[in-house]
Amino acid sequence: MGIGGSDMYRQQILDHYKNPRNYGEIEDATFTHTGENPMCGDTIEMDVVLSEDEETIEHVAFRGDGCAISQASASMLSERLQGMAVEDLRTMDRDDVIDMLGVDISPMRVKCAVLAEKVAQDGTDIYFGELDVEKTTTEDDD
Protein backbone atom coordinates (compact mmCIF):
# COMPACT_ATOMS: atom_id res chain seq x y z
CA MET A 1 0.00 0.00 0.00
CA GLY A 2 1.11 3.55 -0.76
CA ILE A 3 2.35 5.18 2.39
CA GLY A 4 0.49 3.33 5.09
CA GLY A 5 -0.81 6.31 7.04
CA SER A 6 -3.82 4.51 8.37
CA ASP A 7 -3.40 0.90 9.32
CA MET A 8 -7.10 0.31 9.61
CA TYR A 9 -6.99 -2.26 6.88
CA ARG A 10 -4.61 -4.75 8.40
CA GLN A 11 -4.77 -8.28 7.21
CA GLN A 12 -6.94 -9.38 10.10
CA ILE A 13 -9.68 -6.87 9.31
CA LEU A 14 -9.63 -7.69 5.62
CA ASP A 15 -9.66 -11.39 6.35
CA HIS A 16 -12.76 -11.12 8.52
CA TYR A 17 -14.38 -8.84 5.95
CA LYS A 18 -13.74 -11.19 3.07
CA ASN A 19 -14.43 -14.39 5.03
CA PRO A 20 -16.88 -13.44 7.73
CA ARG A 21 -17.17 -15.99 10.56
CA ASN A 22 -20.59 -17.10 11.77
CA TYR A 23 -22.25 -15.52 8.79
CA GLY A 24 -25.80 -16.79 8.38
CA GLU A 25 -28.87 -17.55 10.42
CA ILE A 26 -29.72 -19.57 13.51
CA GLU A 27 -33.23 -20.97 13.36
CA ASP A 28 -34.15 -21.24 17.03
CA ALA A 29 -32.31 -18.20 18.24
CA THR A 30 -33.22 -16.87 21.67
CA PHE A 31 -33.45 -13.44 20.10
CA THR A 32 -32.70 -11.58 16.89
CA HIS A 33 -31.92 -7.92 16.60
CA THR A 34 -30.96 -5.53 13.81
CA GLY A 35 -29.13 -2.28 13.64
CA GLU A 36 -27.91 0.21 11.14
CA ASN A 37 -25.54 3.06 10.76
CA PRO A 38 -27.51 5.51 8.62
CA MET A 39 -24.50 7.58 7.72
CA CYS A 40 -22.81 4.69 5.92
CA GLY A 41 -25.77 2.47 5.23
CA ASP A 42 -24.14 -0.34 7.23
CA THR A 43 -26.59 -2.95 8.50
CA ILE A 44 -26.19 -5.88 10.90
CA GLU A 45 -28.78 -8.48 11.82
CA MET A 46 -27.74 -10.79 14.64
CA ASP A 47 -29.15 -14.04 16.03
CA VAL A 48 -28.15 -14.99 19.56
CA VAL A 49 -28.67 -18.26 21.41
CA LEU A 50 -28.44 -18.10 25.21
CA SER A 51 -27.80 -20.99 27.56
CA GLU A 52 -30.73 -22.41 29.49
CA ASP A 53 -30.00 -20.30 32.57
CA GLU A 54 -29.74 -17.31 30.27
CA GLU A 55 -26.40 -16.30 31.72
CA THR A 56 -24.11 -17.32 28.88
CA ILE A 57 -24.05 -16.72 25.15
CA GLU A 58 -23.86 -20.02 23.31
CA HIS A 59 -24.04 -19.12 19.66
CA VAL A 60 -24.12 -16.05 17.51
CA ALA A 61 -24.73 -15.62 13.82
CA PHE A 62 -25.05 -12.45 11.79
CA ARG A 63 -25.90 -11.11 8.37
CA GLY A 64 -25.05 -7.70 7.12
CA ASP A 65 -23.93 -5.30 4.56
CA GLY A 66 -21.63 -2.34 4.61
CA CYS A 67 -18.09 -1.19 4.99
CA ALA A 68 -15.17 -3.41 5.90
CA ILE A 69 -14.90 -2.02 9.41
CA SER A 70 -18.53 -2.70 10.33
CA GLN A 71 -18.59 -6.18 8.84
CA ALA A 72 -15.20 -7.28 10.16
CA SER A 73 -16.16 -6.01 13.58
CA ALA A 74 -19.36 -8.09 13.50
CA SER A 75 -17.42 -11.15 12.43
CA MET A 76 -14.82 -10.77 15.15
CA LEU A 77 -17.44 -10.04 17.76
CA SER A 78 -19.41 -13.14 16.80
CA GLU A 79 -16.36 -15.23 17.68
CA ARG A 80 -15.66 -13.29 20.83
CA LEU A 81 -19.22 -13.64 22.14
CA GLN A 82 -19.23 -17.44 21.90
CA GLY A 83 -19.25 -18.61 25.53
CA MET A 84 -19.17 -15.11 26.97
CA ALA A 85 -21.21 -14.29 30.09
CA VAL A 86 -24.17 -12.05 29.26
CA GLU A 87 -22.99 -9.76 32.02
CA ASP A 88 -19.64 -9.29 30.25
CA LEU A 89 -21.36 -8.36 27.02
CA ARG A 90 -23.36 -5.72 28.83
CA THR A 91 -20.24 -4.05 30.17
CA MET A 92 -18.36 -4.01 26.87
CA ASP A 93 -17.63 -0.53 25.60
CA ARG A 94 -16.14 1.03 22.53
CA ASP A 95 -12.58 0.67 23.79
CA ASP A 96 -13.11 -3.07 24.10
CA VAL A 97 -14.30 -3.15 20.50
CA ILE A 98 -11.33 -1.15 19.27
CA ASP A 99 -9.00 -3.43 21.26
CA MET A 100 -10.64 -6.43 19.65
CA LEU A 101 -10.14 -4.95 16.18
CA GLY A 102 -6.49 -4.33 17.01
CA VAL A 103 -6.13 -1.27 14.78
CA ASP A 104 -6.49 2.46 15.13
CA ILE A 105 -9.98 3.49 14.13
CA SER A 106 -10.30 7.00 12.78
CA PRO A 107 -12.90 9.06 14.67
CA MET A 108 -15.29 9.12 11.71
CA ARG A 109 -15.39 5.32 11.64
CA VAL A 110 -16.01 4.53 15.29
CA LYS A 111 -19.72 4.26 14.52
CA CYS A 112 -18.98 1.55 11.99
CA ALA A 113 -16.77 -0.31 14.46
CA VAL A 114 -19.26 -0.39 17.33
CA LEU A 115 -22.40 -1.20 15.35
CA ALA A 116 -22.29 -4.97 15.98
CA GLU A 117 -21.54 -4.52 19.67
CA LYS A 118 -24.50 -2.15 20.02
CA VAL A 119 -26.74 -4.60 18.23
CA ALA A 120 -25.72 -7.42 20.58
CA GLN A 121 -26.18 -5.26 23.66
CA ASP A 122 -29.49 -3.73 22.62
CA GLY A 123 -30.80 -7.13 21.55
CA THR A 124 -29.94 -8.47 25.02
CA ASP A 125 -31.57 -5.53 26.78
CA ILE A 126 -34.71 -5.89 24.71
CA TYR A 127 -34.85 -9.60 25.43
CA PHE A 128 -34.64 -8.95 29.17
CA GLY A 129 -37.30 -6.26 28.91
CA GLU A 130 -34.98 -3.40 29.75
CA LEU A 131 -35.15 -1.58 26.45
CA ASP A 132 -37.87 -0.90 23.94
CA VAL A 133 -36.58 -0.05 20.48
CA GLU A 134 -37.26 -1.69 17.18
CA LYS A 135 -33.86 -1.14 15.70
CA THR A 136 -30.47 0.05 16.85
CA THR A 137 -28.89 3.01 15.16
CA THR A 138 -25.45 4.37 15.83
CA GLU A 139 -26.59 7.85 14.96
CA ASP A 140 -26.43 9.80 18.16
CA ASP A 141 -24.20 7.79 20.42
CA ASP A 142 -20.89 6.10 20.16
Partner: protein, 413 residues
Protein backbone atom coordinates in the same frame (compact mmCIF):
# COMPACT_ATOMS: atom_id res chain seq x y z
CA UNK B 1 -11.11 37.97 -24.61
CA UNK B 2 -11.96 36.38 -27.96
CA UNK B 3 -9.37 33.92 -29.16
CA UNK B 4 -7.51 33.59 -25.91
CA UNK B 5 -10.68 32.08 -24.41
CA UNK B 6 -9.93 28.93 -26.31
CA UNK B 7 -6.54 28.54 -24.67
CA UNK B 8 -6.00 26.04 -21.94
CA UNK B 9 -5.39 27.01 -18.34
CA UNK B 10 -1.96 27.80 -17.05
CA UNK B 11 -2.32 25.32 -14.21
CA UNK B 12 1.21 25.83 -12.93
CA UNK B 13 0.59 29.52 -12.45
CA UNK B 14 -2.77 28.93 -10.84
CA UNK B 15 -1.35 26.38 -8.42
CA UNK B 16 1.11 28.98 -7.17
CA UNK B 17 -1.89 30.89 -5.81
CA UNK B 18 -2.92 27.93 -3.64
CA UNK B 19 -0.14 27.12 -1.15
CA UNK B 20 -2.36 24.51 0.53
CA UNK B 21 -1.84 22.29 -2.52
CA UNK B 22 1.80 21.89 -1.51
CA UNK B 23 0.88 20.13 1.71
CA UNK B 24 2.26 16.67 2.13
CA UNK B 25 0.93 13.84 4.23
CA UNK B 26 3.56 11.27 5.20
CA UNK B 27 5.69 12.44 2.30
CA UNK B 28 2.90 12.18 -0.28
CA UNK B 29 1.77 15.39 -1.90
CA UNK B 30 -1.89 16.18 -1.51
CA UNK B 31 -4.14 15.58 -4.51
CA UNK B 32 -7.20 17.60 -3.60
CA UNK B 33 -10.14 16.12 -5.49
CA UNK B 34 -12.99 17.17 -3.22
CA UNK B 35 -13.85 20.43 -4.91
CA UNK B 36 -17.58 19.81 -5.16
CA UNK B 37 -17.63 19.90 -1.38
CA UNK B 38 -15.52 23.02 -1.13
CA UNK B 39 -12.84 24.64 -3.25
CA UNK B 40 -9.50 25.94 -2.04
CA UNK B 41 -8.95 29.67 -1.60
CA UNK B 42 -6.42 31.53 -3.73
CA UNK B 43 -4.00 34.08 -2.31
CA UNK B 44 -5.78 37.17 -3.72
CA UNK B 45 -8.95 36.15 -1.86
CA UNK B 46 -7.04 35.39 1.34
CA UNK B 47 -5.38 38.79 0.88
CA UNK B 48 -8.74 40.49 0.44
CA UNK B 49 -9.94 38.99 3.71
CA UNK B 50 -6.78 40.02 5.55
CA UNK B 51 -6.88 43.47 3.98
CA UNK B 52 -10.45 43.98 5.01
CA UNK B 53 -9.75 43.19 8.64
CA UNK B 54 -6.46 45.12 8.67
CA UNK B 55 -7.72 48.24 6.93
CA UNK B 56 -11.47 48.50 6.46
CA UNK B 57 -13.31 46.60 9.18
CA UNK B 58 -16.41 48.45 10.41
CA UNK B 59 -20.11 47.82 10.53
CA UNK B 60 -21.99 48.84 7.42
CA UNK B 61 -24.95 51.00 6.43
CA UNK B 62 -25.31 53.01 9.63
CA UNK B 63 -21.99 54.60 10.33
CA UNK B 64 -21.13 58.12 9.34
CA UNK B 65 -17.45 57.73 10.06
CA UNK B 66 -14.96 57.14 7.30
CA UNK B 67 -14.29 53.48 8.02
CA UNK B 68 -17.95 52.58 8.04
CA UNK B 69 -18.43 54.41 4.78
CA UNK B 70 -15.57 52.53 3.18
CA UNK B 71 -16.83 49.19 4.45
CA UNK B 72 -20.36 50.01 3.30
CA UNK B 73 -19.28 50.95 -0.17
CA UNK B 74 -17.09 47.88 -0.53
CA UNK B 75 -19.89 45.66 0.73
CA UNK B 76 -22.51 47.22 -1.52
CA UNK B 77 -20.23 47.13 -4.53
CA UNK B 78 -19.65 43.44 -3.89
CA UNK B 79 -23.34 42.91 -4.70
CA UNK B 80 -22.82 44.70 -8.03
CA UNK B 81 -19.80 42.56 -8.79
CA UNK B 82 -21.67 39.34 -8.08
CA UNK B 83 -24.66 40.56 -10.10
CA UNK B 84 -22.35 41.13 -13.04
CA UNK B 85 -20.75 37.70 -12.58
CA UNK B 86 -24.07 35.87 -13.01
CA UNK B 87 -25.75 38.27 -15.43
CA UNK B 88 -28.24 39.73 -12.96
CA UNK B 89 -29.60 43.21 -13.63
CA UNK B 90 -28.12 44.76 -10.52
CA UNK B 91 -27.61 44.65 -6.76
CA UNK B 92 -31.37 44.70 -6.18
CA UNK B 93 -31.45 41.13 -7.41
CA UNK B 94 -28.54 39.83 -5.32
CA UNK B 95 -29.10 38.92 -1.67
CA UNK B 96 -26.14 37.72 0.37
CA UNK B 97 -26.90 34.72 2.58
CA UNK B 98 -24.85 32.15 4.43
CA UNK B 99 -24.85 29.52 1.68
CA UNK B 100 -26.97 27.85 -1.01
CA UNK B 101 -28.99 26.12 1.66
CA UNK B 102 -29.98 29.38 3.32
CA UNK B 103 -30.81 30.91 -0.07
CA UNK B 104 -33.23 28.04 -0.73
CA UNK B 105 -34.72 28.33 2.73
CA UNK B 106 -35.19 32.06 2.30
CA UNK B 107 -37.47 31.50 -0.67
CA UNK B 108 -39.13 28.48 0.90
CA UNK B 109 -40.07 30.52 3.96
CA UNK B 110 -40.62 33.97 2.45
CA UNK B 111 -42.42 32.80 -0.69
CA UNK B 112 -43.41 29.18 -0.01
CA UNK B 113 -45.15 29.62 3.34
CA UNK B 114 -47.16 32.53 1.95
CA UNK B 115 -48.03 31.12 -1.45
CA UNK B 116 -48.34 27.34 -1.11
CA UNK B 117 -51.39 25.45 0.07
CA UNK B 118 -53.32 22.23 -0.44
CA UNK B 119 -53.59 21.36 -4.12
CA UNK B 120 -50.40 23.22 -5.01
CA UNK B 121 -47.43 21.29 -6.25
CA UNK B 122 -43.68 21.72 -6.07
CA UNK B 123 -41.81 19.80 -8.75
CA UNK B 124 -38.19 18.80 -8.11
CA UNK B 125 -35.90 16.15 -9.58
CA UNK B 126 -34.75 12.83 -8.16
CA UNK B 127 -31.19 14.17 -8.24
CA UNK B 128 -31.98 17.14 -6.00
CA UNK B 129 -29.53 17.96 -3.21
CA UNK B 130 -30.99 17.77 0.31
CA UNK B 131 -30.66 21.56 0.44
CA UNK B 132 -33.64 21.80 -1.91
CA UNK B 133 -35.26 18.40 -1.40
CA UNK B 134 -35.61 18.52 2.38
CA UNK B 135 -36.53 22.20 2.34
CA UNK B 136 -39.43 21.92 -0.11
CA UNK B 137 -40.49 18.58 1.37
CA UNK B 138 -40.86 20.16 4.79
CA UNK B 139 -42.45 23.38 3.54
CA UNK B 140 -44.93 21.22 1.65
CA UNK B 141 -45.75 19.38 4.89
CA UNK B 142 -46.37 22.70 6.62
CA UNK B 143 -48.57 24.10 3.88
CA UNK B 144 -50.38 21.00 2.63
CA UNK B 145 -48.72 21.26 -0.79
CA UNK B 146 -47.46 18.17 -2.66
CA UNK B 147 -43.92 17.48 -3.87
CA UNK B 148 -43.18 15.55 -7.05
CA UNK B 149 -39.90 14.41 -8.54
CA UNK B 150 -38.86 14.35 -12.19
CA UNK B 151 -37.41 10.93 -12.96
CA UNK B 152 -33.72 10.40 -13.59
CA UNK B 153 -33.13 7.86 -16.36
CA UNK B 154 -30.50 5.12 -16.50
CA UNK B 155 -27.89 7.39 -18.03
CA UNK B 156 -28.34 9.99 -15.34
CA UNK B 157 -30.39 12.42 -17.42
CA UNK B 158 -33.72 13.93 -16.50
CA UNK B 159 -36.67 12.30 -18.22
CA UNK B 160 -38.04 15.41 -19.90
CA UNK B 161 -41.24 13.64 -20.99
CA UNK B 162 -41.87 12.93 -17.35
CA UNK B 163 -41.10 16.58 -16.57
CA UNK B 164 -43.76 17.68 -19.06
CA UNK B 165 -46.21 15.27 -17.41
CA UNK B 166 -45.48 16.46 -13.89
CA UNK B 167 -45.51 20.20 -14.47
CA UNK B 168 -49.15 21.24 -14.72
CA UNK B 169 -51.29 24.22 -13.85
CA UNK B 170 -51.24 22.97 -10.24
CA UNK B 171 -47.49 23.47 -10.16
CA UNK B 172 -46.38 26.58 -8.27
CA UNK B 173 -42.64 25.96 -8.14
CA UNK B 174 -40.16 23.98 -10.21
CA UNK B 175 -36.96 23.64 -8.18
CA UNK B 176 -34.11 22.01 -10.06
CA UNK B 177 -30.40 21.51 -9.63
CA UNK B 178 -28.32 22.99 -12.46
CA UNK B 179 -25.40 20.54 -12.24
CA UNK B 180 -25.88 17.41 -10.13
CA UNK B 181 -23.25 17.17 -7.39
CA UNK B 182 -23.57 13.36 -7.50
CA UNK B 183 -24.10 12.46 -11.16
CA UNK B 184 -22.37 15.37 -12.83
CA UNK B 185 -25.39 15.81 -15.10
CA UNK B 186 -25.84 19.29 -16.55
CA UNK B 187 -29.58 19.83 -16.61
CA UNK B 188 -31.49 21.81 -19.29
CA UNK B 189 -32.53 24.44 -16.78
CA UNK B 190 -33.72 27.05 -19.23
CA UNK B 191 -36.07 24.48 -20.81
CA UNK B 192 -37.33 23.68 -17.32
CA UNK B 193 -37.79 27.39 -16.58
CA UNK B 194 -39.80 27.72 -19.82
CA UNK B 195 -41.87 24.71 -18.84
CA UNK B 196 -42.56 26.23 -15.43
CA UNK B 197 -43.51 29.57 -16.96
CA UNK B 198 -45.85 27.89 -19.46
CA UNK B 199 -47.86 26.85 -16.41
CA UNK B 200 -47.48 30.11 -14.51
CA UNK B 201 -45.13 28.46 -12.05
CA UNK B 202 -41.83 29.86 -10.80
CA UNK B 203 -38.45 28.22 -11.31
CA UNK B 204 -35.68 27.99 -8.71
CA UNK B 205 -32.32 26.81 -10.00
CA UNK B 206 -29.72 25.46 -7.55
CA UNK B 207 -26.46 26.66 -9.08
CA UNK B 208 -24.11 25.48 -6.32
CA UNK B 209 -22.22 23.28 -8.80
CA UNK B 210 -22.59 25.42 -11.92
CA UNK B 211 -21.52 28.95 -10.98
CA UNK B 212 -18.05 27.82 -9.85
CA UNK B 213 -17.44 25.94 -13.08
CA UNK B 214 -19.12 27.50 -16.09
CA UNK B 215 -20.35 30.81 -17.45
CA UNK B 216 -23.81 31.41 -16.03
CA UNK B 217 -26.31 34.03 -17.15
CA UNK B 218 -29.41 33.97 -15.01
CA UNK B 219 -31.21 36.35 -17.35
CA UNK B 220 -30.69 34.13 -20.35
CA UNK B 221 -31.64 31.10 -18.30
CA UNK B 222 -34.78 32.96 -17.19
CA UNK B 223 -34.67 31.43 -13.70
CA UNK B 224 -36.84 33.29 -11.22
CA UNK B 225 -34.57 32.39 -8.32
CA UNK B 226 -31.02 31.09 -8.35
CA UNK B 227 -28.64 30.13 -5.55
CA UNK B 228 -24.98 29.31 -5.04
CA UNK B 229 -22.23 29.25 -2.39
CA UNK B 230 -19.03 31.27 -2.22
CA UNK B 231 -16.94 28.47 -0.75
CA UNK B 232 -17.21 26.30 -3.86
CA UNK B 233 -15.88 29.05 -6.13
CA UNK B 234 -12.64 30.21 -4.53
CA UNK B 235 -14.49 32.32 -1.96
CA UNK B 236 -14.71 31.91 1.80
CA UNK B 237 -17.29 29.92 3.75
CA UNK B 238 -20.17 31.81 5.30
CA UNK B 239 -21.38 33.46 2.12
CA UNK B 240 -24.03 32.36 -0.32
CA UNK B 241 -26.05 34.19 -2.89
CA UNK B 242 -29.74 34.32 -3.55
CA UNK B 243 -30.62 35.79 -6.91
CA UNK B 244 -34.26 36.73 -7.49
CA UNK B 245 -36.01 38.65 -10.23
CA UNK B 246 -36.51 42.13 -8.88
CA UNK B 247 -40.28 42.26 -9.17
CA UNK B 248 -40.59 38.96 -7.30
CA UNK B 249 -38.29 40.01 -4.48
CA UNK B 250 -40.15 43.31 -4.38
CA UNK B 251 -43.48 41.56 -3.86
CA UNK B 252 -42.20 39.13 -1.25
CA UNK B 253 -42.20 39.76 2.48
CA UNK B 254 -38.91 39.22 4.32
CA UNK B 255 -38.71 36.28 6.70
CA UNK B 256 -35.83 37.43 8.89
CA UNK B 257 -36.55 40.59 10.81
CA UNK B 258 -34.31 42.97 12.69
CA UNK B 259 -31.89 45.74 12.11
CA UNK B 260 -30.59 46.85 8.71
CA UNK B 261 -33.60 45.45 6.86
CA UNK B 262 -36.05 48.13 7.98
CA UNK B 263 -36.87 51.60 6.77
CA UNK B 264 -39.17 53.09 9.43
CA UNK B 265 -39.97 51.50 12.77
CA UNK B 266 -42.57 52.55 15.31
CA UNK B 267 -43.83 50.69 18.38
CA UNK B 268 -46.73 49.51 16.26
CA UNK B 269 -45.29 48.68 12.84
CA UNK B 270 -42.31 48.67 10.49
CA UNK B 271 -41.61 49.20 6.84
CA UNK B 272 -38.84 47.54 4.88
CA UNK B 273 -35.61 48.80 3.45
CA UNK B 274 -35.10 48.69 -0.32
CA UNK B 275 -33.74 45.62 -2.13
CA UNK B 276 -31.60 43.69 -1.50
CA UNK B 277 -31.18 44.89 2.11
CA UNK B 278 -34.76 43.95 2.94
CA UNK B 279 -33.58 40.32 2.94
CA UNK B 280 -30.33 40.88 4.84
CA UNK B 281 -31.37 41.27 8.46
CA UNK B 282 -28.77 42.10 11.08
CA UNK B 283 -25.08 42.71 10.57
CA UNK B 284 -24.44 41.02 7.24
CA UNK B 285 -21.58 38.89 5.90
CA UNK B 286 -19.43 41.92 5.17
CA UNK B 287 -15.96 40.48 4.80
CA UNK B 288 -17.22 37.33 3.12
CA UNK B 289 -19.17 39.38 0.59
CA UNK B 290 -16.15 41.48 -0.28
CA UNK B 291 -14.03 38.35 -0.56
CA UNK B 292 -16.61 36.74 -2.85
CA UNK B 293 -16.37 39.71 -5.19
CA UNK B 294 -12.62 39.13 -5.22
CA UNK B 295 -13.21 35.48 -6.07
CA UNK B 296 -15.36 36.60 -9.02
CA UNK B 297 -12.46 38.77 -10.21
CA UNK B 298 -10.08 35.86 -9.80
CA UNK B 299 -12.26 33.50 -11.86
CA UNK B 300 -13.01 36.10 -14.52
CA UNK B 301 -9.29 36.80 -14.89
CA UNK B 302 -8.85 33.15 -15.75
CA UNK B 303 -11.99 33.16 -17.88
CA UNK B 304 -15.02 31.04 -17.08
CA UNK B 305 -14.96 29.40 -20.51
CA UNK B 306 -11.50 28.12 -19.73
CA UNK B 307 -12.49 27.07 -16.22
CA UNK B 308 -15.36 25.09 -17.75
CA UNK B 309 -13.25 23.43 -20.41
CA UNK B 310 -10.54 22.45 -17.92
CA UNK B 311 -13.00 20.88 -15.47
CA UNK B 312 -14.82 18.96 -18.17
CA UNK B 313 -11.63 17.68 -19.71
CA UNK B 314 -10.38 16.36 -16.35
CA UNK B 315 -13.76 14.74 -15.68
CA UNK B 316 -13.67 13.09 -19.08
CA UNK B 317 -10.12 11.90 -18.54
CA UNK B 318 -11.02 10.46 -15.13
CA UNK B 319 -14.13 8.87 -16.58
CA UNK B 320 -12.14 7.23 -19.37
CA UNK B 321 -9.40 5.98 -17.09
CA UNK B 322 -11.80 4.58 -14.49
CA UNK B 323 -13.89 3.01 -17.27
CA UNK B 324 -10.94 0.81 -18.19
CA UNK B 325 -11.87 -1.38 -15.24
CA UNK B 326 -14.86 -3.73 -15.44
CA UNK B 327 -15.44 -3.65 -11.72
CA UNK B 328 -15.86 0.12 -11.52
CA UNK B 329 -19.39 1.41 -11.77
CA UNK B 330 -19.56 5.10 -12.67
CA UNK B 331 -22.74 7.02 -11.88
CA UNK B 332 -24.26 9.46 -14.34
CA UNK B 333 -23.84 10.49 -17.96
CA UNK B 334 -20.98 9.74 -20.38
CA UNK B 335 -17.54 11.20 -19.83
CA UNK B 336 -17.84 13.83 -22.53
CA UNK B 337 -21.12 15.21 -21.23
CA UNK B 338 -20.76 16.05 -17.56
CA UNK B 339 -19.63 18.63 -15.07
CA UNK B 340 -16.26 18.46 -13.35
CA UNK B 341 -16.84 15.37 -11.25
CA UNK B 342 -16.99 11.57 -11.38
CA UNK B 343 -18.78 9.44 -8.78
CA UNK B 344 -18.10 5.73 -8.75
CA UNK B 345 -18.11 2.48 -6.84
CA UNK B 346 -15.39 -0.13 -6.94
CA UNK B 347 -17.15 -3.51 -6.99
CA UNK B 348 -18.73 -4.22 -3.61
CA UNK B 349 -16.18 -2.18 -1.71
CA UNK B 350 -17.93 0.44 0.41
CA UNK B 351 -17.08 3.97 -0.71
CA UNK B 352 -15.91 4.83 2.79
CA UNK B 353 -13.34 2.06 2.60
CA UNK B 354 -12.20 3.27 -0.81
CA UNK B 355 -11.87 6.81 0.44
CA UNK B 356 -9.92 5.71 3.48
CA UNK B 357 -7.41 3.81 1.35
CA UNK B 358 -7.13 6.74 -1.06
CA UNK B 359 -6.32 8.90 1.93
CA UNK B 360 -3.20 6.78 2.42
CA UNK B 361 -2.09 8.13 -0.95
CA UNK B 362 -3.00 11.68 0.07
CA UNK B 363 -5.78 11.59 -2.51
CA UNK B 364 -8.66 13.55 -1.01
CA UNK B 365 -12.05 12.53 -2.36
CA UNK B 366 -15.51 12.38 -0.81
CA UNK B 367 -17.38 9.22 0.01
CA UNK B 368 -20.97 8.99 1.13
CA UNK B 369 -24.36 9.96 -0.19
CA UNK B 370 -23.28 13.52 -1.10
CA UNK B 371 -26.54 14.85 0.36
CA UNK B 372 -28.55 12.92 -2.22
CA UNK B 373 -29.83 9.98 -0.18
CA UNK B 374 -33.01 9.35 -2.17
CA UNK B 375 -30.99 9.28 -5.40
CA UNK B 376 -28.58 6.71 -3.93
CA UNK B 377 -31.55 4.65 -2.74
CA UNK B 378 -32.92 4.71 -6.26
CA UNK B 379 -29.56 3.66 -7.68
CA UNK B 380 -29.43 0.87 -5.11
CA UNK B 381 -26.11 1.85 -3.55
CA UNK B 382 -25.60 3.12 -0.01
CA UNK B 383 -22.86 5.51 -1.03
CA UNK B 384 -20.42 6.43 -3.76
CA UNK B 385 -16.90 7.76 -4.02
CA UNK B 386 -16.64 11.12 -5.77
CA UNK B 387 -13.62 12.78 -7.33
CA UNK B 388 -14.30 16.39 -8.26
CA UNK B 389 -11.98 18.77 -10.05
CA UNK B 390 -11.16 22.43 -10.25
CA UNK B 391 -8.84 24.89 -11.91
CA UNK B 392 -5.69 23.70 -10.13
CA UNK B 393 -6.09 19.97 -10.74
CA UNK B 394 -3.97 18.05 -13.23
CA UNK B 395 -4.06 14.85 -15.24
CA UNK B 396 -1.23 13.59 -13.05
CA UNK B 397 -3.54 13.87 -10.08
CA UNK B 398 -6.15 11.83 -11.94
CA UNK B 399 -3.47 9.24 -12.65
CA UNK B 400 -2.66 9.14 -8.97
CA UNK B 401 -6.34 8.66 -8.18
CA UNK B 402 -6.45 5.72 -10.54
CA UNK B 403 -3.31 4.20 -9.01
CA UNK B 404 -4.82 4.51 -5.55
CA UNK B 405 -8.07 2.91 -6.71
CA UNK B 406 -5.97 0.11 -8.16
CA UNK B 407 -4.31 -0.42 -4.80
CA UNK B 408 -7.72 -0.51 -3.14
CA UNK B 409 -8.80 -3.21 -5.54
CA UNK B 410 -5.72 -5.27 -4.76
CA UNK B 411 -6.24 -4.94 -1.05
CA UNK B 412 -9.86 -6.04 -1.25
CA UNK B 413 -9.40 -8.72 -3.90
Amino acid sequence: MGLSETDVLDVERIRADFPILEREFDGEQLAYLDNSATSQTPEPVVEAIAHYYRHTNANVHRGLHQLSQEASIAYENAHDRVAEFIGADGREEVVFTKNTTESLNTIAYAWGLAELGPGDEVVMTEMEHHAALVTWQQIAKKTGATVKYIRVDEDGYLDMDHARELVTDDTEMVSVVHVSNTLGTVNPVSDLADLAHDHDALCFVDGAQSVPHMPVDVGEMDADFFAFSGHKMCGPTGIGVLYGKEHLLEEMQPYLYGGMMISKVTFEDSTWHELPWKFEAGTPVICQGIALAEACDYLDDIGMERVDRHGRSLAEYAYDRLSEFDDIDILGPPGDDRGALVSFNLGDVHAHDTSEILNDFAVAIRAGDHCTQPLHDKLGVPASARASFYIYNTREEVDKLVRAVDATRELFA
